[in-house]
Every structure is written in structure tokens, then in C-alpha cells.
Symmetry: C2
């Protein structure tokens, strides 16, 4: 009130109601400089979902970031979505599924070790699980969609110990076979793909391996959660359909990477797509279905809380993130 009072004194503006100035010392709360916890709950029928944010990336946008689109065009599009250019801030969003009998975590984020290397931008899953009141030891199942580091690195802690000590680890059969095959590794098309093979071996410690079970496309992994084939981004990339009562959610993993780029431009080929042509075909098939069915969809790289719907536009698809609700 310092400014308004002084200004009023000189300008003669009305100070209408108080007979005398309030003579308190201002309490002065400091700026907090920290964000709210990154989790969000919602229901799919009787199933309780909890998006648990692992943070965001900060990847430089260079030619090749989108294989078939020049850097300048990617930047211009990012700016059209009110985002800063040059640095790609892609969200990471693992999700908990609690069907009342089992608690599953789908994908595990960039791992505790990334918290330091990213300066706190990502590797935040365990912090946000704690904020959500979830003990990692209470997780019954970890379900992986595919073997990129931002999905599997969180299986182990910074000290390489297992992060979810009581969980079985369910992995797509096709994906596991591909990335753990030394012959495939010897034929890796690029250093980036070779690094993914090596990273998978790093994360698959003896402790992890003894908890791993492979699953097939079409298989029900827990009551209400079924695996479905969405290859392209990686050979065994898998999505999951969550159903309860008359409600259905499509957990799309990386059918599109960030939807504000790749759903809006389904023909754009992301640099991390192992088979970008197959990825685009999968993307168009799934997104035509999602739009036609008006089905709720959650995406690992969707903006937190990472759940919404998509509508078809003249040039692609547009995501519409759900309205945050204070109650379930």
C-alpha cells in the first residue's frame, strides 16, 4: 500500500473508507521459488489413475530434430504454440494405475541420476511419488511401453539399486527381444540407436532381470489393462488400453511424441523414431480412432497432467488437455 497511498496523497485520489491509515508493519512473505508437487489424479470408471510428472527435457532444436522438416520451420511452429524456440521442452509423464487390487506404474522416467545431470529439470519421479504419498515399495507392477531411456532408466536408482523393490517388471516381448539382441546391436543404424542398445544393458541389472516378465500384444496385464501393438517409434513400442465400466482410456506412450508438435503435424518424423514411416502409419491409425471415438488419451510426452482428448483438424490432430479438477 505504500505506492497507492503516496500516489493518492499527491494526486488527491479518493481514499474513501478508512478514517485512519493502517499502521502495521507489512508481514512480507518471501518468494517461494519452488513449484507445486507434480501429480494429478483422475478416474477411469473404478480405476484410479495418477499422472506422476518426471519433469521436462531441454533439448536443442537442430536440423534433424524433425528429420523431414528444417529447424526454422520447427521453431516457427513452436512459437505459434506460444512456446520458446530453439530449446525443446518435452514433458515426461509416467502414470500409476490402481485397479483396487494392484498398483502399477507405467514407464519410469529418466531416472534418479538425471535429477543432478539435468539441474532438476527431470528425474523427478521419486520426489513426485513421495509427494503423492506412494512408497515405491508398494508398487506391484512396473509396465514398460518401450526401451528408450526416459521410459526405462527409472527402473534403477542413482546408485544402481532397484527402484521398485517389490514390483514385477512387465516388458513388451518384441521390444525386449530387439534391444537385448547382440546381433541387432551390431547392426545399429546410428550411434544414437547403438547408445539405446547399450543403455538397455546398463539398466537391465541382475536385480532388474530377475524381476522381468515379457508380455505379448493383446495380453491383459492386470484387470482392466490390456497391451496393444503400436510399433514404429521402436520395434516393440506398446500402448495400453485401460477400461472400467463404460469408460476407456488409451495410454498412447509415444504414438506421438509431444502432441503440440507431432499430433498437430502427424507427418513430421521425430529423430528418435526408429522406423519413422511405420511410426507415422501407427500415429495416423491411432489418432483417427481417438478422434472418431472421442476417446480419452494419455501420452507420456503430453503436457502435464498429460491426459485429454484429440480432435481432427485440417492439417492433423489437436490435443485438448483435460480441465484440472479439484476432486476425483
Amino acid at each position: 500500500m505504500v505506492e497507492i497511498t503516496r500516489r493518492a496523497a499527491f494526486a488527491g485520489a479518493a481514499l474513501s473508507m478508512a478514517a485512519a491509515p493502517v499502521t502495521k508493519a507489512f508481514a512480507f512473505a518471501p518468494q517461494a521459488a519452488t513449484q507445486a508437487p507434480g501429480f494429478y489424479r483422475y478416474k477411469v470408471g473404478d480405476i484410479e489413475m495418477t499422472t506422476v510428472n518426471d519433469g521436462v527435457s531441454a533439448m536443442p532444436i537442430e536440423d534433424g530434430f524433425v528429420r523431414n522438416v528444417p529447424k526454422a520451420e520447427v521453431n516457427a511452429f513452436l512459437e505459434s504454440t506460444f512456446r520458446a524456440p530453439n530449446i525443446y521442452s518435452g514433458p515426461y509423464n509416467p502414470v500409476l494405475i490402481n485397479n483396487g487390487r494392484q498398483l502399477a506404474l507405467v514407464d519410469t522416467g529418466t531416472g534418479e541420476g538425471a535429477l543432478k545431470s539435468s539441474n532438476g529439470l527431470n528425474g523427478r519421479l521419486l520426489m513426485n511419488l513421495a509427494a503423492a504419498g506412494i512408497d515405491p515399495a508398494s508398487i506391484d507392477l512396473v509396465i514398460l511401453s518401450h526401451y528408450h531411456g526416459d521410459h526405462m532408466n527409472g527402473l534403477i536408482r542413482a546408485d544402481n539399486s532397484i527402484a521398485f523393490p517389490n514390483a514385477e517388471i512387465l516388458v513388451p516381448e518384441v521390444e525386449h527381444k530387439f534391444w537385448m539382441d547382440d546381433g541387432e546391436m551390431s547392426r545399429a543404424a546410428t550411434p544414437r540407436v547403438e547408445a539405446t542398445f547399450k543403455n538397455a544393458r546398463r539398466v537391465m541389472t541382475a536385480d532388474v532381470r530377475k524381476r522381468v516378465r515379457t508380455y505379448a500384444w493383446g495380453q491383459e496385464l492386470m484387470s482392466g489393462v490390456t497391451a496393444t501393438a503400436t510399433p514404429g517409434h521402436t520395434p516393440g513400442h506398446t500402448s495400453h488400453v485401460v477400461s472400467s465400466g463404460n469408460k476407456t482410456l488409451y495410454l498412447q506412450a509415444v504414438v506421438t511424441h509431444a502432441p503440440f508438435l507431432f499430433a498437430r503435424n502427424p507427418g513430421w518424423h521425430f529423430m528418435l523414431d526408429v522406423d519413422p514411416v511405420a511410426a507415422e502409419a501407427t500415429r495416423r491409425n491411432v489418432y483417427d480412432m481417438l478422434a472418431a471415438e472421442r476417446m480419452m488419451v494419455q501420452g507420456f510426452h503430453y503436457p502435464f497432467p498429460a491426459v485429454g482428448h484429440v480432435e481432427k483438424t485440417a492439417t492433423g490432430y489437436r490435443e485438448d488437455i483435460v480441465q484440472w479438477s479439484p476432486v476425483l
Copy 2:
């Protein structure tokens, strides 16, 4: 793992890696059934903003909810935005401004008393302030945009005591004069408007009144925060421009009510607009400016975290809520 193991046993699907079944009892975490805290922080230059959610409404949609549009059309539009019809779930979002010297709260929500009457849907401000680590006694200024109950009722607690005991209460001069004028009250056009006059008198307890200062349009209320005239929704309805460095935020209060209805359809006249024609003119002026300048905007009835941008479309304006960030 019960399902997959049994299924695998009968179907012969591969259980590739584990030599022996894991023989633990599942930990079984119960469903939590509660939402994450409703606050969100971001920066405007050196100023720290904190959206503090007060909840949502649950208003029946009837003819007259939008004065110049039939109920069926409103419901169809809501469904096109992937929202349920018939019950309008409009968010309430007060906001804190901390410029490093003073902490202000802009608008106060439906009040602690509403927590019970709404079954927890709204009246959540004090809970969410606590979650954000803010003591109500540390708030230096309360700034009101206008005198509708969802903006001013939170000035007092459920027991009618003052909610922010150390704050001066800054109110728009035109707004205060209108709603506190008994002659204006005697000419109230509808029972709903008359109820607003009466509610303002209920909330303006002696304790509140002795803390009130009126402010004029164009006045700087604290360093970096200036009041600006946006009449129509109410006669003295006021917005606030927050500036620091080269950053600007337009705090639009209710220039549009829920943007997913009234920014997308700027010609729609909301039932609570005191002068809907003036409100529409203000809305088109402000939104043309926001779209042209690509200015960040926060709205009281925007979906939490209630801050974003707007772009002009063929038929109106479309809001684009910011991407949630784990760091400030």
C-alpha cells in the same frame, strides 16, 4: 501379475527371463481418492505469481445461462470441448502476486463457508494457500476485481471473522460506489442483481470496511501492478496489468467468464453480466489486443492453472493454457 501368469500358463506365452516365480505377497496400496494441492507458480520477470485454486462450480445449464443462446446450443458446444453437458463446471482461480516487497492476493474465491455448502467443490482457497505454504496473515494486500460473491466472499471466514487479518483491501472505486449505494440497490433490475447488493453488504463487515481503500483505474496498486478499466461484467469491473522487466501479464478477471465458452464465442452474453453489451465490447477490445500482442493472460475462470495465451480464430478466440513446468 495373477492374470498374466495364469494366462501365460494356459496359452504358452513366453515368460522369458525369470527362472522362478516371484513369491512375494503384493503390497497393495489403496486408492487415494484425493487430488493434488491446487496451486501453481510462475514468473513474470522478477515477480512471482501463484495461482491458488478455489475449486469449481456446478451450475445447472438452463435457458438464460447464456442469455442470447438456447440451452441446447450451449450444451452442444460444451460437448464439443469434451466437457459434460447440463452442469457447468467453471473454475475459480484467485492469484497471489509477490513482487519481492509485498504479497498481494487478487480475488478471494467463494469463501470458507462454501466448502461445506458445495460439498468440497469450492471454497478451497484457504486449504490451497496452506498447501502452498502461505499464511493468510502474511498477505499484505487483497485486491478485488469486482463485487461478485465468488471474488469477494473469501474476505471473511465461515464464522464471519476477517480472513486476511493483516491485509489492506483494495477495491475498485467505481465498483465499490455502485454496489454500496442504497439507491442503486433499490433499482436492481433482477432478484439476482439485488442479491449481489445484499451479499456485498454481508461481506463488508465492520472489520472488512476499516481495511478497505478504493483505487482508481490507471492507478499502480503495488510496484508492477496497475489497475485498468474493463467494465461491463459489472459497472466497476477491473483488470490488472502485471509488468516486470520486458514481461507483461494481463490479469483479466472476468473479461470473459470461462474462456472455453465465452472467449470462443465472444458474442455470447453470460447471465451474470450486468451490462452484457458493454461486456462484449470490452471483451472484443481486450481479446483483440491480447491476440495481437500475444500477451500472457490469466483469467479467474480459466482452467487451472488459469494462465495462457489466446489466438484469434474464424469465430472468436481460443485459449491455450500454458504447459505446466516443474521449475520456475
